[in-house]
Amino acid sequence: MNPLIAQIAAHSPGLRDWLALTSVIFSIGLYGLLTRRNAVGILMAVELMLNSAAMNFVIFNRFCLPARMDGSVMAIFVIAVAAAEVVVGMAIFVALYRYRGTVDVNQMNTMQDPVISIEGPGDFNREVMKNINKQYKSRHDH
């Protein structure tokens, strides 16, 4: 037997390797959710996350109790839930696009907490106000 093949076979993926893979995919999805600017893109990232979470169930099913089908059934349900989520999300985005002309999440900030002057004593207040105004402006610069 070729020692290389033996070596490779000895590195046959165990439970932890599989779980590390799903962790990586989940993290990538999380990164996408936090950075994508297009709402549809964010939803795609969410799909990655749900997909990797569902895969966790299948992995555990395979490694921990192969005799039953609970994990696989859960994965099927997750796929269905993901479908429902996408349906509602897409409907909302399409409706929003119709009236806003964009689905860029950075511009979805008509609702936020207003920044108002704090009536307070002395210089401290003025400093606070200056900072807040600066930040307010930066919030609206895109």
């Binding site: 779980l19 989940f26 999805g29 999380l30 959710l33 709402a39 964010i42 939803l43 969410v46 996350m49 749900l50 990797s52 979470a53 569902a54 966790n56 169930f57 992995i59 555990f60 921990c64 109790l65 609970d70 994990g71 059934v73 859960m74 349900f77 997750v78 839930v81 429902a84 989520e85 509602v88 999300g89 409907a91 909302i92 985005f93 409706a95 929003l96 119709r98 009236y99 806003r100 689905v103 999440v105 979805m108 008509t110 609702m111 936020q112 907490d113 207003p114 108002i116």
Partner: protein, 478 residues
């Protein structure tokens, strides 16, 4: 027949959907009657079901706590329908475009109620997860229901993105628990020893709970979604969705991680302290009443979870009772807010000025509701808070009780802002012209009476207390 209430709600939803197809525009009100009747019958069915029992080989279980939760969900659904009907059928002075489709609206609403009811009966992760999503995903649609209002759409967008994130986190956590126990059942996890994966899963699940229950820092979606959603949905979110969060927390913390609740008391106490403080502080600076109510709901979430700290035979009935008091007070308040927004289309706190002169009864009801939320004796909110505070004190969290007491002062100041507008400021020159419709009047009258009676008649608390003690002695390790 244990599942009867759920079946009635689902059948009502289907019937509403079908009826909507066949009813003419003139008879369209029929769907409202159908929904109301269905929910009333479902409430009766909840009363008829026994407080313990299981079906489908233990897949679907009814116990005392679940029984009360189901009753609360049906009640809040019933009043949400009453709050929605004027808006949906266009019987408002201020014509709102972009809200309609009453048949679909009620159907979706009823589906979410059935989802909540399944949630409290779930005994395995699959039903837990699926019913949680049934109670959540359609709400994204309801928040975005007014498709021509850009704020409504934006609310839907924010809700769907944060909701999907929370859903993924919950799923990840459940997956790890499944791997650790090797079983899909919730009860199996109670014997788990601590391990990094378990703690990681617990953190993920806590984040998911935090999303539903609006705990800080998972609360940020709430203000924007509350502001953008149609007014009755805002009311529904602040009571039923909060109840779902609490039920979900019950399921996870008592059933799944029952052996750990005491060890995590410090974390829960920290959450309670931060959540109520932040909610109350930020509420001070709000002008829009929907945003204000969002932060009010957030701070109440902090009060609710204080019930997890103490000995559970005090904590659980206290939480359930406070949930009931909170539902009555919040919905009574929202009846006034819905009425005002229906009549004038305005929704800032300043707009309520002088309401006590133009509509003294509505102002009185709103004042009572606000005082109850603020915890002024002898209204029900005070009694509920009193119980929860003493639970926390009994568990030795005196600092938390101190923080909670400071917070109730800030909260009182917040709620008094609205009372002051209504009672002390000069009358709004362009206030609502028409009195409240009969549906809103009934809602206000019933709920205001309830919030007063709950506080002064000990019967309700005794009933909750008496029925949950047996459940607790069975479910909790001692």
């Amino acid at each position: 027949m244990l599942m009867l209430p759920e079946i009635i709600v689902v059948v009502t939803a289907m019937a509403v959907l079908v009826a909507d197809l066949f009813l003419t525009e003139r008879l369209r009100m029929g769907v409202t009657w159908l929904s109301l009747a269905g929910l009333a019958v479902a409430a009766g069915a909840v009363f008829a079901t026994p407080m313990n029992g299981s079906m489908f080989g233990g897949q679907f279980v009814v116990d005392a706590v679940g029984w009360w939760f189901k009753l609360f969900f049906v009640i809040s659904g019933f009043f949400t329908v009453l709050l929605s009907m004027d808006l949906l059928h266009g019987r408002t002075t201020c014509r709102m475009r972009g809200i309609g489709s009453p048949g679909e609206y009620y159907t979706v609403l009823l589906f979410t109620i059935s989802g909540m009811m399944y949630l409290v009966s779930a005994r395995d992760m699959v039903l837990l997860y699926v019913s949680l999503e049934l109670a959540t995903i359609p709400l994204f649609a309801l928040a975005a229901w007014r498709r021509e209002d850009i704020r409504s759409g934006e609310a839907g967008l924010k809700y769907v993105i944060v909701g999907a994130l929370a859903s993924a986190f919950i799923l990840y956590g459940l997956g790890l628990i499944y791997g650790l126990t090797g079983q899909i059942s919730l009860d199996a996890a109670r014997v788990l020893k601590g391990s990094p994966a378990f703690w990681f899963a617990a953190a993920m699940l806590t984040a998911g709970i935090g999303f539903k229950l609006t705990l800080v820092p998972f609360h940020l979606w709430a203000a924007d979604v509350f502001e953008g959603a149609p007014m009755p949905i805002t009311a529904y979110l602040s009571v039923a969705s909060k109840g779902t969060g609490l039920a979900f927390m019950f399921q996870l913390f008592f059933r799944m991680m029952g052996g750990w609740v005491h060890d995590w008391a410090l974390m829960i106490a920290l959450f309670a302290a931060v959540t109520m403080t932040l909610g109350n502080c930020v509420a001070i600076v709000q002008h829009n009443i929907k945003r204000f109510m969002a932060f009010s709901a957030i701070s109440h979430a902090g009060v609710f979870i204080m019930g997890f700290l103490g000995p559970h035979d005090y904590g659980v009935p206290a939480m359930l009772f406070y949930l009931l008091a909170y539902i009555a007070s919040t919905l009574a308040l929202f009846a006034g807010i819905v009425w005002y927004s229906n009549e004038t289309g305005r929704e800032t706190i300043r707009d309520y000025r002088g309401l006590s002169r133009t509509n003294p009864l509505m102002a009185l009801a709103m004042m009572l509701a606000l005082f109850s939320l603020a915890g002024i004796p002898p209204l029900s909110g005070f009694v509920g808070k009193f119980f929860l505070f003493s639970v926390a004190a009994g568990a030795g969290f005196h600092w938390l009780v101190g923080i909670a007491a400071v917070n109730s002062t800030i909260a009182l100041y917040n709620y008094l802002r609205i009372v002051r507008e209504m009672y002390i400021e000069p009358v709004h020159e362009d206030g609502p012209a028409a009195p409240a419709s009969w549906s809103l009047s009934i809602t206000t009258a019933v709920l205001t009476t309830a919030l007063v009676l709950l506080g002064i008649i000990p019967f309700f608390y005794n009933a909750i207390n008496g029925s949950t003690i047996a459940w607790l002695s069975a479910v909790l390790p001692h």
